[in-house]
């Protein structure tokens, strides 16, 4: 019996040992995110998807559409945040999007941030055209993550999420 107790304790310890990271991983989920652009005239748009905390500040960069760092400073507000932290965003960087096109990417969200007053912000800039801090901003809720959100006259026509 002792042996089996030992076994149990060992297994538990093992389980705990391996469960710890597993638990923290379990707190995030992946979502497909589609950005559909309007048919504006001009160059391709640079779009940044950020997580905004309940206080209205930048929490985390979720995805960057646009690979040439030269243009990052045109996304003024986000760039101020990015400059401070300089996290590696190479894994969450894709191509810029042209008018009328769409872009589908996978973003990773922590479950704890859902329905907790956080927002997802899409800010966009086009060369020699207007810069929109909140091209679209969506409350981070279970509902919005399974629906389509129409834009408000910016470069983005709508965004759609779906669990990946």
């Amino acid at each position: 019996m002792m042996l089996s107790k030992f076994y149990s304790a060992g297994l538990l310890a093992l389980a705990l040992l391996f469960a710890a990271p597993a638990v923290s991983r379990a707190q995030t989920a992946k979502y497909k995110c589609m950005v559909q652009m309007t048919s504006y005239m001009g160059e391709e748009a640079y779009v940044v998807i950020s997580l905004i905390n309940p206080k209205g500040g930048y929490e985390k960069t979720l995805y960057v559409l646009g690979s040439d760092k030269k243009w990052y400073n045109t996304l003024k507000d986000w760039f101020a945040f990015y400059k401070q932290k300089r996290t590696d965003i190479s894994a969450i960087t894709g191509a810029s999007v042209a008018g009328g096109d769409r872009s589908v990417n996978v973003i990773e969200l922590e479950n704890s941030k859902i329905n907790a007053g956080y927002k997802i912000r899409f800010e966009a800039a086009v060369e020699d055209k207007k810069y929109n801090v909140k091209d679209i901003e969506i409350p981070l809720t279970t509902e919005s993550l399974s629906a389509k959100t129409e834009g408000a006259g910016g470069y983005i026509r709508y965004v759609r999420f779906s669990p990946n």
Binding site: S67, G100, V104, N105
Partner: protein, 731 residues
């Protein structure tokens, strides 16, 4: 200095755009290597053009469940973009049939990106794009004006690719390369302009997606994508990109972006939900991009690189030509009103100014007041005594641009004092209308009451310094101003002096009479009848010229003994066996022509000298008619035996004589009038007329012939002059 409108615009456009143009050309050369290196990647599958969507899409979806989009680039590389978990770069080049990964799209080369931005916008964003677009448009205008210039230069579209006369390196290759790279450069300019206009929204390239009516979307019948009709008939080669349905929901659909339209397809049934054709502007924009960047074709990209290289060369050679022309510009020391010598220039590209300037410098150095200007500035010249006209011919025997108004101005401004004139034509025998306009000016001047010819008209073939020197010698002999030492065109300095021995002399019967003399020709001496003998009677710069007739091994001269004549007195005083220093001046245009059907020779007085030599050399027995005029029969007696002997040998077909102070007092021109029809026919048949003697006689004869030819063939005598059928050597 006026230049034609096309040339002026060509230059003005080039000057205003050359900086940006050099930059664009240089970056363009670099960028051309982009398509070349891309094309070398092995991502295109062999049977690409046969693959349909029905084959490719199911295969790719099975292999990549997370695939969201697919694109086909200009190199026909197929790229799949997905949301496959864990993949850092979700885009891969694939084989569209098997889904096999062929490679990963590399990061765009930062250097190429940098150069592209420079090429497109000079790093100045919108403003830069505007200037580059403007430069492309200016380049378009430059090619158009350049084409017009080539057409003008070659005289007609049909002769666009006929050979070009080479003046110098810059000019020759500017035109030669210009003709060949005209088309690619025009395409670069046109597409560049179009792309800029499109960029600024001048054309409707707005992207309109098909409207999808979600109320009528059917969920039945369910078909496999491989069965969809639209997938079966659409080839991958027609596709630009495909967006896969976002989810499996029936309301999510395929979007096919084809080359010419966008189609949305129900993902369950394969029905077409909507279809929108792109505006034509989209097609032209894509075509312009293909042509401007060479994307998708390494051969065209290389052609574009070469054309861009040529643009750089044109900028260099164009400026080289321009600076050369500017260097030919004149600044006059004296005004037209106070000058004794007026030099009038007719020139299309300014090269004739160099010769005018050389003469001008000489005259100024000699302390004379001289003035150079273009023919269109002809006016009253109150102090003028000498008029020198140096003119080129443009197009089909027309006046150069800065001489177009001469005929009118001559009518409007008759000079109040007598002025002597001399015309020098510039041209090239490579063109049929050799120096035609110069002959025309000579004719115009000869009709002016105030004008007397100082020398016979001379021509300069391909800027030959020898020909120019020939004129300079004749002119300085008549005007008394030494201009043989022409700056940069110096002849006399390296001329070879010959030592000649007198073999015979027949003294003149009286003062003002004619004497003949002969010199022995050494074995090394090359001389032909029609060449000139230059002698230096006082051993200084003063030079006298005599026409040479070569008979046997002797140079024969006929000289009129002028009272106090420097040259004639000197020669008359020589005795047999005496030696003199002299030089032979080659005068090729007045040599006896070979291979022509007929020759007519007209002379008066001592002008018979070269003809005597030519007749004696007429071994092929070309029919030669000689018209010769003298004052008295006594002078003719000097030649009679020789001429009758030649006629008997068949070297001379007919002799026509006129004596102005005896018998019925005829001038040689009377004989010409009598035989006018025969002479007109001579020209028609390709025969040649040679005139040697006094300028007054030449003027009379030419006027007569002009009237006769006009009547007979509708062409003035200058037509035949420019075809080298009239050759003159008068003084």
């Amino acid at each position: 200095m006026t230049i034609s409108v096309w040339r002026y615009s060509h230059l003005a456009l080039a000057v205003s755009s050359f900086l940006l143009l050099s930059l664009a050309a240089l970056t363009g050369i670099i960028l051309a290597f982009g398509p070349v290196t891309e094309k070398m990647q092995p991502y295109r599958v062999n049977n690409f053009s046969d693959v349909t969507l029905a084959q490719a899409l199911p295969a790719l979806r099975t292999r990549y469940p997370g695939i969201t989009a697919l694109s086909v680039d200009v190199n026909q590389f197929v790229q799949a973009k997905g949301t496959g978990a864990g993949e850092k770069n979700p885009s891969v080049y694939v084989d569209p049939l098997t889904g096999k990964v062929l490679g990963h799209p590399g990061e765009e080369n930062e250097f190429f990106q940098w150069v592209t931005a420079l090429h497109r916008s000079l790093f100045l964003h919108e403003a830069g794009r505007f200037f580059i677009g403007l430069t492309a448009f200016l380049l378009l205008l430059i090619t158009v004006s350049g084409t017009m210039l080539v057409i003008q230069r070659q005289r007609g579209l049909k002769r666009f690719f006929t050979p070009i006369v080479r003046e110098n390196f810059a000019q020759f290759y500017h035109v030669v390369l210009g003709r060949w790279s005209l088309i690619p450069i025009m395409i670069i300019a046109l597409t560049g302009t179009y792309l800029s206009l499109a960029r600024f929204g001048f054309f409707d390239t707005a992207h309109v997606s098909p409207k999808v009516d979600f109320d009528v979307i059917q969920a039945k019948p369910v078909k496999s994508p491989a069965e969809f009709a639209i997938f079966k008939k659409t080839k991958l080669s027609e596709v630009e990109s495909i967006e896969f349905p976002f989810s499996e929901d029936v309301e999510d659909y395929y979007t096919l972006k084809l080359r010419d339209r966008e189609v949305t397809v129900n993902q369950v049934t394969g029905d077409i939900l909507g279809e929108v054709k792109y505006p034509a502007a989209v097609f032209y924009t894509n075509l312009s991009l293909d042509l401007h960047t060479g994307r998708g074709s390494s051969v065209w990209a290389i052609i574009l690189a070469l054309a861009s290289g040529n643009i750089l060369f044109f900028i260099y050679s164009g400026f080289a030509i321009t600076f050369k022309r500017l260097g030919n510009r004149t600044r006059n020391k004296f005004t037209a009103a106070e000058s004794r010598f007026i030099i009038l220039v007719g020139s299309e590209n300014g090269s004739t100014f160099r010769f005018a300037q050389a003469l001008n410098q000489q005259l100024l150095k000699a302390g004379e007041k001289s003035f150079v200007t273009e023919l269109n500035n002809y006016a009253r010249f109150p102090k003028a005594e000498h008029l020198v006209v140096m003119t080129a011919t443009y197009g089909l025997g027309d006046a150069p641009t800065n001489a177009t108004r001469l005929a009118k101005l001559l009518e409007r401004y008759p000079q109040s004092q007598p002025i002597s004139y001399s015309v020098l034509g510039f041209g090239s025998h490579a063109y049929p209308d050799f120096c035609k306009y110069a002959f025309e000016v000579n004719r115009l001047l000869s009709h002016q009451a105030w004008a007397t010819a100082l020398t016979d008209i001379h021509t300069v073939d391909d800027k030959s310094p020898e020909h120019f020197g020939l004129w300079a010698e004749a002119w300085s002999q008549q005007s008394g101003i030494p201009v043989t030492m022409l700056t940069g065109l110096d002849l006399a300095a390296n001329a070879r002096m010959e030592s000649l021995t007198v073999t015979k002399i027949t003294p003149a019967a009286q003062a003002g009479g004619t004497f003949t003399m002969a010199f022995k020709i050494g074995s090394r001496l090359r001389v032909r009848s029609g060449d000139l003998l230059a002698i230096y009677p006082a051993n200084d710069h003063r030079e006298r010229l005599y026409s040479i007739g070569v008979v046997g091994k002797e140079i024969r001269l006929s000289v009129r003994l002028h009272p106090e004549g420097l040259g004639s007195g000197f020669l008359h005083g020589l005795t047999v066996e005496q030696k003199i220093r002299a030089r032979i001046v080659k005068n090729e245009h007045f040599h006896f022509p070979g291979g022509v059907p007929q020759v007519v020779m007209i002379s008066n007085g001592t002008g018979i000298a070269p003809f005597l030599g030519m007749i004696s050399q007429n071994r092929k027995k070309i029919p030669v008619q000689l018209y010769c005029g003298f004052r008295q029969r006594l002078t003719y007696n000097l030649y009679q035996d020789f001429l009758e002997q030649s006629a008997a040998e068949g070297k001379l077909a007919a002799i026509h004589t006129a004596f102005s102070r005896e018998g019925n007092k005829q001038y040689v021109s009377h004989l010409i009038q009598r035989d006018g029809d025969k002479l007109a026919r001579l020209f028609e048949n390709g025969g040649i007329l040679m005139i040697c003697g006094s300028l007054a006689m030449q003027k009379d004869v030419m006027e007569l012939l002009d009237a006769i030819c006009m009547e007979q063939s509708g062409r003035g005598v200058s037509f035949y002059q420019s075809r080298n059928q009239v050759r003159t050597d008068c003084y």
